[in-house]
């Protein structure tokens, strides 16, 4: 990986405050701006925006706090999200579309439909999700920049 580190084009870490619905989406908006300025393709920007928004919302809905880091290299971009919070009891179940543990408040806001993680999976090329129940969750995903057919 030493070779990769020599070619980092961009790297930044953003803090996400759990429960702060008022500023929800602000980190993913910033990430989107960064990708636009980096001149990445519309498709990469669209896929990354969707995955990042969902990841940000998961921290806001289910964690006390978290960090989202964005890494851009010439060939791929990688987003890593680590949070401290409720964690996920059964990662396989959580990945199933429609499965959700969201409370009534979260659902009333139009979140918690059980689509977030599958939206991330669909819009990324590699995805890794691990969690310690009642402690926190680690999510990382990769989107390749040079394999994307426009469309």
């Amino acid at each position: 990986m030493a070779g990769v580190e020599n070619h980092i084009r961009f790297q930044e870490v953003f803090h996400i405050q759990g429960g702060n619905f008022t500023n929800a989406g602000s980190i993913s908006s910033r990430v989107k701006e960064i990708l636009k300025r980096a001149g990445l393709s519309d498709k990469v920007i669209r896929r990354t925006s969707i995955a990042t928004f969902e990841a940000e919302m998961n921290v806001i809905c289910y964690a006390d706090r978290g960090n989202l880091s964005l890494l851009i290299t010439p060939h791929f971009l990688k987003v890593v999200v680590d949070d401290e919070g409720s964690g996920i009891h059964d990662v396989n179940l959580a990945m199933r579309e429609g499965y959700s543990t969201a409370n009534e408040k979260i659902r009333e806001l139009g979140f918690g439909a059980g689509m977030g993680l599958s939206n991330i999976k669909k819009n990324t090329d590699e995805m890794l999700l691990t969690s310690k129940f009642r402690q926190g969750t680690h999510l990382e995903f990769v989107i390749y920049l040079d394999k994307q057919n426009e469309g």
């Binding site: 619905f21 008022t22 929800a24 989406g25 602000s26 993913s28 908006s29 989107k32 925006s49 969707i50 928004f53 969902e54 919302m57 806001l109 139009g110 979140f111 439909a113 689509m115 977030g116 939206n119 669909k122």
Partner: protein
């Protein structure tokens, strides 16, 4: 793609404008109706007008993220005060209609706006 603007929609069924008045000349590429934000994030397209009954500030975040042309609140719902403030800052049109979602979508279809734009 239709040649309808947000302004045309406001005019043709007399929607009330609650925010984003400066951006009404935006072209509407199609429409999407849903109250689940993940669904809108996944399936709406750039330039779509979005019909929802959600009124909280996160709808502005979704509209920004997906570069939607505007949000129509159905069923006579009014945006929260902080939603209006955020929409003004980000110049996202928020329009309100006394009609329920189904009727709003029907009227948009009659204007030539479809769901697949």
């Amino acid at each position: 793609m239709s040649f309808v603007t947000v302004f045309d929609i406001v005019n043709s069924f007399r929607l009330k404008i609650r925010a984003g008045e400066k951006r009404l000349n935006e072209q509407v590429t199609g429409g999407y109706a849903s109250d689940l934000l993940s669904d809108v994030i996944a399936h709406s397209r750039k330039g779509n007008v979005w019909i929802t009954i959600q009124t909280h500030p996160n709808i502005v975040a979704v509209a920004m993220m997906k570069e939607l042309s505007g949000i129509i609140l159905a069923g006579g719902r009014e945006p929260d005060a902080d939603t209006i403030q955020k929409a003004e800052e980000e110049e996202i049109p928020i329009l309100v209609s006394p009609l329920f979602t189904f009727e709003v979508v029907g009227k948009l279809y009659q204007m030539g706006i479809s769901g697949m734009g």
